[in-house]
C-alpha cells in the first residue's frame, strides 16, 4: 500500500522518562483504538475477517435504509443518503478492502483505514476540483460508519483485547483514562506517544504511575505513523522517532540500556528509610490507581500508600459500583498493603476525569460536593470503606474540601452508616483527612486542622485554583507554576499549622515527587511525601545525601525571593549543583555521550 516512509523525528513534552521501542499501534483520532493487527491462522482467518467486514457493510446498509424508510426526509436528503448507501456497498470499495484483508492478512478496521487513505490520496491527486472537499467529506462519512460498525458501536473497549503479541508503542491523538488503565495491564506495551498536550492533567498522573516511557504533545504524529512499522519513544529528550533507521535503532537500544542501568542504581537501596546526613527523616509513600499497584509501590520503596484514587478504577464500569464492589477492592488493598497505612480518597469526579458513569461539567462540582449531592453513588463507597477498615490502617481522604461543615457532615454520615452496619467499632481504625487544594481551605486551614487527623496537599489542583489556570490549556501553561511564591508560601503555612495542631501532613501532588523540591520541603518541616512509585527511588536518594540545614537555607532564600522566575532559577541551579548525578540535565548529557 504505502511506500517506504522516511524517518521523522517529532518533538513533544517528556512526561515519563525512559526509552521505548516497538511496533506502531495506532489509535485513530476519532475512534479510540484502531489497531494494526496481523491475522493469525492463515487463509481461514483472513476469510473470516473478510466476512466480518462484509457483515459490517450489510449492517451499515440496513441502518441507512431504515433511516430512509422511517423518516420523512426531503428529496434532497434522501438522494444523498442513497448515494451514501451506494458508496457503502460499492464493488470497488468492498473489493479493495476485501483484497487488502486477504492479501495482507490485516484486520478489517485497518484495511478500511488504508483503503480510505489511499482513496483520499487519489482524490486529492485527481486535479483541481472545487467540490473535492464535499467528496472527501462523503468518503469520511462512509469510513466512519464502517469503523463504528466494525468496532461494535461505541467503541474501543473491545479492542483492548486485541492488542499485539509483540512489543508495541501506543500512538494516538489522545487517550481516555479507561483506555489507559486497560492498556497498562498489557505485557507488550513499551511506550506511549500522543498528539494531545500533557501538561499537568490526570492523564499525565496516571501515565507517571504506570511508569511507561511517554511523550505527549507530538503534533502531526498520526499522519507520520500511518504506513510506518516502528517507532521509538524517547522520554528523556521528549521525542518520538517514527520509522527509525537501523543505526538509530541500535543507538536507542544502547541509550535504553544506559538509562535502565542508571535507574536500577537507585533501586539497590530503595527499601531503606530516607534519612538525611544530619538525621532528619522523610517518610515516602506512593500514589496508586489500583490494588495491583501495591506491589509496585513496595518494590520502589514506598513506606505507605499516600493516595489511592478511587474514581479511576470504576471508569470502565457501566453502572454505579455497589457496596460489595467497594468492599472487595478496599479489602484487597488494605490486606495487600498491610502493615502500611493506606489513604483512600473518596470519589473525586470532575475536571478531566471523564467517566461513563458520572460526568460533571461544572467547574466546582467535584470531590466531596459531588459526593454529598449523589448519595446513591457515595453511600455504597462509605459503607465499603467502613467494612474494610477492620483489615488494615485506613485513612479516608476528603477531596475538594472548602468548609468545616463538610468535615462534620462527613463524620455524621460515617457514624450513621457504621451504626446501620453495626460496625461502629471499625471507626476507631479510621483516620479522616482533608485534601487541601482550594484557596478557601488555605484560609481556614487552622479551623480544618481542629476537625481532621491529617492534611493532604493536592498540589496540582491547589496551583490550578490558586492561579486560575485551566490545566489543559497550552496558552496558560506558564501560569501553572509550582515555583510561584504563593504556592510555596501556602505549603510552608500549612506545614506550620499541621505542626501546631499536631496533625499529619503529606504532599501528594505532582510536587511531592519532583526531586527539585525535596530539600526545600525538608527545610519547611514537611516530613511526608507521596508520589508515583517510579519517583520514589530518586527522591529517597536526595534525602539521604542531603542535610536538613541545606533545606533550611533554601527555605530562607525562598522567603526572601519575590519572583517566580528567580525562585525557579535558584532551586534548579542549587539542586543541579548539589546533585549533579541525579538531575536530568546532567545525566541526559551523560547518556547522550554514552549512548544515543
Amino acid at each position: 500500500m504505502s511506500a517506504e516512509r522516511n524517518m521523522t523525528r517529532l518533538s513533544g513534552e517528556k512526561i515519563v522518562e525512559g526509552i521505548g521501542l516497538g511496533k506502531v499501534f495506532f489509535i485513530d483520532k476519532d475512534f479510540s483504538l484502531i489497531p494494526h493487527l496481523t491475522l493469525r491462522g492463515g487463509q481461514k482467518a483472513r476469510e473470516k475477517e473478510k466476512r466480518r467486514f462484509m457483515n459490517a457493510v450489510k449492517k451499515c446498509e440496513k441502518e441507512l435504509t431504515a433511516i430512509m424508510d422511517e423518516r420523512e426526509l426531503p428529496k434532497e436528503a434522501l438522494s444523498i443518503l442513497e448515494a451514501h448507501r451506494m458508496m457503502l456497498v460499492d464493488p470497488t470499495l468492498t473489493g479493495e478492502v476485501g483484497d487488502t484483508i486477504l492479501e495482507r492478512g490485516v484486520n478489517a478496521e485497518w484495511a478500511v483505514l488504508s483503503v480510505f487513505e489511499e482513496m483520499a490520496e487519489r482524490l486529492a491527486g485527481s486535479g483541481a476540483d472545487y467540490y473535492l472537499k464535499a467528496k472527501a467529506a462523503d468518503l469520511e462519512v462512509i469510513k466512519d460508519k464502517l469503523l463504528i460498525s466494525l468496532l461494535g458501536g461505541a467503541g474501543h473497549a473491545s479492542y483492548i483485547k486485541n492488542l499485539p503479541e509483540e512489543d508495541f508503542i501506543l500512538c494516538a491523538h489522545s487517550l481516555t483514562l479507561s483506555d489507559l488503565s486497560s492498556l497498562a495491564k498489557n505485557k507488550h506495551i513499551r511506550g506511549i506517544a500522543l498528539e494531545a498536550p500533557g501538561g499537568v492533567s490526570h492523564l499525565t498522573i496516571v501515565l507517571r504511575s504506570i511508569g511507561l516511557p511517554a511523550v505527549l504533545g507530538l503534533d502531526g504524529l498520526l499522519t507520520e505513523v500511518a504506513g510506518c512499522e516502528e517507532i521509538v519513544v524517547d522520554g528523556l529528550s521528549g521525542e518520538a522517532v517514527v520509522c527509525p533507521t537501523m543505526p538509530q535503532k541500535i543507538a536507542y537500544i544502547q541509550k535504553k540500556k544506559v538509562y535502565d542501568e542508571y535507574f536500577d542504581r537507585f533501586l539497590t537501596d530503595v527499601g531503606d528509610p530516607a534519612v538525611s546526613q544530619d538525621g532528619a527523616e522523610m517518610h515516602i509513600g506512593a500514589n496508586i490507581e489500583g490494588e495491583e499497584e501495591v506491589d509496585l509501590a513496595k518494590r520502589y520503596g514506598a513506606e505507605f500508600i499516600g493516595l489511592f484514587r478511587t474514581e479511576l478504577m470504576f471508569l470502565e464500569k457501566e453502572e454505579v459500583p455497589t457496596e460489595e464492589d467497594h468492599y472487595a477492592i478496599y479489602y484487597e488493598m488494605l490486606h495487600r498493603a498491610h502493615p502500611m497505612e493506606v489513604t483512600i480518597r473518596v470519589f473525586d469526579f470532575g475536571g478531566d476525569k471523564e467517566g461513563r458513569i458520572l460526568a460533571t461539567g461544572a467547574m466546582g462540582l467535584r470531590g466531596i460536593r459531588f459526593c454529598f449531592l449523589y448519595p446513591d453513588v457515595f453511600l455504597p463507597q462509605v459503607r465499603g470503606l467502613i467494612r474494610a477498615a477492620a483489615f488494615g490502617n485506613l485513612n479516608i481522604l476528603l477531596p475538594f474540601v472548602s468548609a468545616v461543615d463538610e468535615i462534620r457532615e462527613f463524620k455524621a454520615i460515617l457514624k450513621e452508616q457504621a451504626k446501620d452496619l453495626k460496625l461502629e467499632k471499625n471507626l476507631k481504625h479510621i483516620k479522616i483527612g482533608a485534601m487541601i487544594e482550594l484557596p478557601a481551605a488555605l484560609f481556614i486551614a487552622e479551623m480544618l486542622a481542629r476537625e481532621v487527623d491529617f492534611f493532604s496537599i493536592g498540589t496540582n489542583d491547589l496551583v490550578q485554583y490558586l492561579m486560575a489556570v485551566e490545566r489543559q490549556d497550552k496558552a496558560l501553561s506558564q501560569y501553572f507554576s509550582h515555583f510561584h511564591p504563593a504556592v510555596l508560601r501556602a505549603l510552608y503555612n500549612l506545614s506550620h499549622i499541621a505542626k501546631k495542631y499536631k496533625i499529619g501532613l503529606s504532599v501528594c501532588g505532582e510536587m511531592g515527587g519532583d526531586p527539585y523540591f525535596t530539600l526545600l520541603f525538608m527545610g519547611m518541616g514537611i516530613n511526608s511525601l507521596s508520589m508515583s512509585p517510579i519517583a520514589i527511588p530518586i527522591v529517597k536518594k536526595i534525602v539521604r545525601s542531603g542535610y536538613l540545614e541545606e533545606g533550611k537555607a533554601l527555605l530562607n532564600r525562598m522567603l526572601m525571593t519575590t519572583s517566580e522566575m528567580e525562585l525557579r532559577e535558584i532551586l534548579e541551579r542549587e539542586m543541579e549543583e548539589r546533585y549533579p548525578n541525579i538531575f536530568r540535565k546532567a545525566w541526559i548529557d551523560n547518556i547522550r555521550q554514552n549512548g544515543g
Binding site: S79, A83, M87, P91, T92, L93, L123, S126, G127
Partner: protein
Amino acid sequence: MNTMAEKTVTIRNKLGLHARAASMFVKEAERYACEVEMEKAGVRVNAKSIMGILMLAAPFGSTLKIIAKGPNDEECVTALARLVEVGFEEEA
C-alpha cells in the same frame, strides 16, 4: 457480443460529478448488463462503481468518455450520455 460503444460527453451541471449525480449515473448504468467504463485524462474507472466515478475529477465543463461493452451497449451509452447532458436533472 464483441461490440463496443463509446461517447464523449460534457459535464453540464454546476456541481460536476458529485455523490448524488454519481449515484444517479451508476443506477442508470446498472440497468444494463454490459460493462461500462468512464475515462477522463487517461484514467479509466468502472462506471458501475460510485467510488470509481467519485475518484475522477470531472467539474463543470469538463469532458469525459463513456465506454460500454456487451449487450445493449449502444443503448446504454446513449442513455448515460443523455443523463450527463441534461445535467442530472439538476436546476442550473
